[in-house]
Every structure is written in structure tokens, then in C-alpha cells.
């Protein structure tokens, strides 16, 4: 093989390693336990909030009024106009397997993100 060909192969090899390495690096960044709180009304996504922030999301529809509170890594239903307030009594959730549901208001709150290892797949209730 000629010198030029060796250099060409070498360059391609370096590019290949570079792309591969960059990809692994980017994936590592992604794994930074980024969890998102997804709030749904009647099955449709209403708002997505990074779980690591502090935010109060107010919902006011024909079905009812709710306030979802996201507080640095956990989320709860702060207030709800439904008669039994089961959703409020659920308290704080922080895992992807957990969710908060307010059936009368047709609101549900989920946590999306990389699931914890050893996490269960569902809860029978």
C-alpha cells in the first residue's frame, strides 16, 4: 500500500473513532437522570415540566380546577376541586412507576424518564 492510502485510512479511522466517542459522550450526558413531569387532561398532554424545577401548574376546565406542584424532584396535586380529593391525598411522587390521577377532572400526572433499576413494572391496585 502506498503512503497516501495509509494516510487516508488513518484519517477515516480517526473520524470513525471521533464519531463513536462523541456519541458515547452525548449518551452519558443524557443519562443525567433527567425526569420530566407530564400533565395530561383528558388523555392529551397539557404540559411538560422538568422535575428538578419549582413550578405550580394551574388547570381550570369544565371538569374541575387543579393545581399541580412540582418541587425539585417531586410532584404532588396541591389542590383539587373534586369531592373526595383522593388525588391530593396521594401526596408526593417522584418515581416513574408512580402517578397521580384525578378522575373527576380527567387529569393525570406522570413522571417520564430513565426508569430506576430494579423498578417494578406495574402496581396492581
Amino acid at each position: 500500500m502506498r503512503k497516501k492510502e495509509l494516510i487516508l485510512i488513518g484519517i477515516i479511522l480517526i473520524i470513525a473513532c471521533g464519531v463513536y466517542g462523541l456519541n458515547i459522550y452525548l449518551n452519558r450526558l443524557d443519562e443525567g437522570h433527567k425526569k420530566t413531569v407530564n400533565i395530561f387532561i383528558e388523555g392529551k398532554l397539557f404540559k411538560s415540566v422538568d422535575i428538578d424545577t419549582y413550578e405550580e401548574v394551574k388547570i381550570d376546565t369544565e371538569y374541575g380546577k387543579n393545581i399541580v406542584l412540582i418541587d425539585r424532584g417531586k410532584v404532588r396535586m396541591k389542590e383539587a376541586s373534586c369531592p373526595d380529593n383522593v388525588c391530593v391525598h396521594m401526596g408526593w411522587i417522584s418515581k416513574t412507576i408512580q402517578n397521580i390521577v384525578c378522575l373527576p377532572a380527567k387529569v393525570h400526572v406522570e413522571i417520564a424518564g430513565k426508569e430506576e433499576i430494579g423498578e417494578i413494572d406495574a402496581v396492581a391496585k
Binding site: 500500500m1 502506498r2 497516501k4 492510502e5 487516508l8 485510512i9 477515516i12 479511522l13 473520524i15 470513525a16 473513532c17 464519531v19 463513536y20 466517542g21 462523541l22 456519541n23 458515547i24 449518551n27 443524557d30 395530561f40 383528558e42 388523555g43 369531592p83 373526595d84 383522593v86 391525598h89 396521594m90 401526596g91 408526593w92 411522587i93 418515581k95 412507576i97 408512580q98 402517578n99 390521577v101 378522575l103 380527567k106 393525570h108 406522570e110 423498578e119 417494578i120 413494572d121 406495574a122 402496581v123 396492581a124 391496585k125
Partner: protein
């Protein structure tokens, strides 16, 4: 101009480099999960499919749920069940094969459980209104009147005409204790028809662990801790191709004068069932059965309930009692792992 001397060698080297570059471009293989959460059957439903990538399939599955709700819900004015109820004491109503089969099976469970599971408690359920804005503790006389309008033996099933007739005016069917189970079985059937081998379905807490996880291991299904208001579980079941249904006093209830009134009625008294059971979980391969049996076992209590389950092959149960004890049927002993220190497994 590059002069290729040994073409084949160079082509091979370049091919490897090309593949190397491409593999760097493919992102970390994250498991593709196709899931959707939506409302149907009066509750929230989540379908998670692990080995199939069709949005159309999810559409079909949720359509099936809506279809079942339209046929069977007592809250929908012209559902088949509402039609039967509105014509009680008057005329038999011809229904679809699906509804007919389900009512027939439900009545079989009424008989099998000696009335602990009873689909004719519609008048009692409506009277108490648990879970609605009208929930209240009725007078004894109101309850007695409502009880007179119940009784699964007064459900007349006509196979020839595929019709259902309620003998007395004012009688009403309520399939709340078996409709979700039926829906779950339907979901499973459609998944199988579409060659799905790995899925988790959660219909308002009724779980179908379909097939196995994509890595070949069993599904891990938690059992709700009846004393925790959150999604906390007291133990884990390792299962595959199974359905898990829990009936509990903690699900739908209201509190009046410091007394908790929950939604599982004792057909003999017309009051929410008040025995030693806090929750019971049934594991089976047919969801309709598990659904009906979970209500039946709750009302029957640990001793009679365990006897009933032991008599049914392929079915297991886990009782949680008010004094924090757990009773497991033999079938499930090596599939269940207790995780909460607040309970004791008795046997």
C-alpha cells in the same frame, strides 16, 4: 490519483471503517416502548407494548375499550346494560354475543361464590352513590327497599334468543366487578392476534402481564399497600402471562362521621362489606375470572375465599387482613416477595 494495488484488502478495510463510523452514529439502543394512557371504563388505562411498533395497534386497543364501555356501562344511557335495566320487569332485551356471554359467565360466578359476587346489586350501588357527588349513608329502610330489588337468581338468561330479562321492575345490573376483566381479556386477545409477546396493561389497576419482558425475565408486579395512599407496594409478584386483580377497601370510599364506607357491597346486608379483609389479590390467566373472584373473595373472607381459590386450578390469591397479616395460596408462595416490614406472611 490513488492507485489501488490490492483492491480486495482495501475494500475490506474501508468497509470495516464504514461500519465503525455507522455504529458510532447509531444512538445507544434504548428499548422502544409503545405506550398510551387514556380514559375508558370510568378509569385511567395504560397500555405498554415492548415488541411491536404500531400506533394503529394502540388505536385499535383503545377503540375496543371504548366499545366495551359503550355496550356495558350503566352510566351510558343506551348501553346494552342500561337497556336491560330500563326494561326490568317488562321485556327481555336481546343483546350482542359479547354482552350475553359476559352476563352468563358473571351469573356463573354469582352461583359459584354463593352470591358473594353479585351483578344484580345495581339498586344498592346507585343508592349509596359511592364515588359520585351524591355519596351518602342511606336510611335502613332505603337499604331494605333496595335489597328487595336485588338477587342474581332473578336474572333470566335466554340462550335461544340471546336475551337478558330482569324479573322485577327496579332491578338493575351492574357489571363493574367484571367489565374491566373482560376488557383486559379482549386486549390480550388482540395482542396475541398481532403477535405481541411482551406487554404490560394497566386498566385502572387491573394488570395483565402479557408474555415476558424482552430480556426473557418475568414481570415484576407490585401489590398495593392498602394503608398507603400513594403507589407504594407491600410486595412483588414475579409473573408471566398472568393477570393480577386486586379488590380493596381503600380504592373508592367516602368517610362520614369518621366511618369509612367503601365500594364493595355485601349483597346480604346492603352495606359495604365489613370483615377482616383489607384487600385481596387474585392471580389467574383469565382476567374476567380474576376480576369476579377478587370481589367474591373480598366478601367471602380469608377462610372461605381461600377454599374457593384452592378449588380452582391455575388461580392463586393473596389476602391482606386488617391486622396486617398476609395469607397466600400455595400456587403463589414462590412467586411473591414481601418488601414491607409492616406485614407478616402467615401462610
Amino acid at each position: 490519483m490513488i492507485h489501488f494495488m490490492k483492491c480486495k484488502t482495501k475494500i475490506i478495510i474501508l468497509s470495516f471503517l464504514f461500519i465503525f463510523i455507522c455504529s458510532g452514529c447509531i444512538s445507544d439502543k434504548e428499548e422502544k416502548i409503545y405506550e398510551r394512557t387514556d380514559y375508558a371504563l370510568g378509569t385511567i388505562n395504560k397500555i405498554k407494548i415492548f415488541d411491536h411498533d404500531s400506533k394503529e395497534l394502540l388505536d385499535i386497543l383503545f377503540e375496543r375499550l371504548n366499545d366495551i364501555e359503550n355496550k356495558m356501562s350503566v352510566n351510558i344511557e343506551n348501553s346494552e346494560i342500561s337497556n336491560i335495566n330500563n326494561n326490568a320487569g317488562d321485556t327481555p332485551i336481546k343483546v350482542s354475543e359479547e354482552t350475553f356471554k359476559l352476563v352468563k359467565k358473571a351469573v356463573n360466578f354469582c352461583e359459584l361464590s354463593g352470591g358473594a359476587f353479585d351483578i344484580s346489586l345495581g339498586p344498592v350501588i346507585k343508592l349509596w352513590g359511592i364515588g359520585t357527588e351524591n355519596q351518602r349513608v342511606p336510611d335502613k329502610s332505603e337499604i331494605t327497599k333496595a335489597l328487595q330489588l336485588t338477587g342474581y337468581k332473578k336474572i333470566i338468561i335466554d340462550s335461544e334468543n340471546q336475551s337478558i330479562f330482569l324479573k322485577d321492575k327496579g332491578m338493575a345490573l351492574d357489571l363493574g366487578g367484571i367489565a374491566k376483566g373482560h376488557a383486559a381479556d379482549e386486549i390480550k386477545r388482540i395482542l396475541e392476534e398481532n403477535n405481541v409477546r411482551s406487554a404490560i396493561i394497566d386498566l385502572g389497576g387491573n394488570i395483565i402481564a402479557h408474555g415476558k419482558k424482552t430480556d426473557g425475565t418475568e414481570w415484576k408486579v407490585g401489590i398495593q399497600d392498602p394503608y398507603s395512599e400513594r403507589n407504594d407496594y407491600l410486595g412483588i409478584l414475579s409473573v408471566s402471562d398472568s393477570t393480577i386483580v386486586t379488590s380493596g377497601a381503600y380504592e373508592r370510599f367516602f368517610i362520614e362521621n369518621n366511618v369509612r364506607y367503601h365500594h364493595i357491597f355485601d349483597g346480604k346486608t346492603g352495606y359495604p362489606c365489613d370483615n377482616e379483609v383489607m384487600s385481596v389479590t387474585i392471580v389467574s390467566d383469565i382476567s374476567e375470572d380474576a376480576d369476579a373472584l377478587s370481589t367474591a373473595c373480598f366478601v367471602l373472607g380469608v377462610e372461605e375465599g381461600m377454599k374457593l381459590i384452592d378449588s380452582l386450578p391455575g388461580t392463586g390469591c393473596i389476602f391482606v387482613t386488617k391486622d396486617n397479616k398476609i395469607y397466600i395460596s400455595n400456587e403463589l408462595k414462590d412467586k411473591f416477595q414481601l418488601t414491607s416490614g409492616l406485614f407478616t406472611v402467615i401462610g
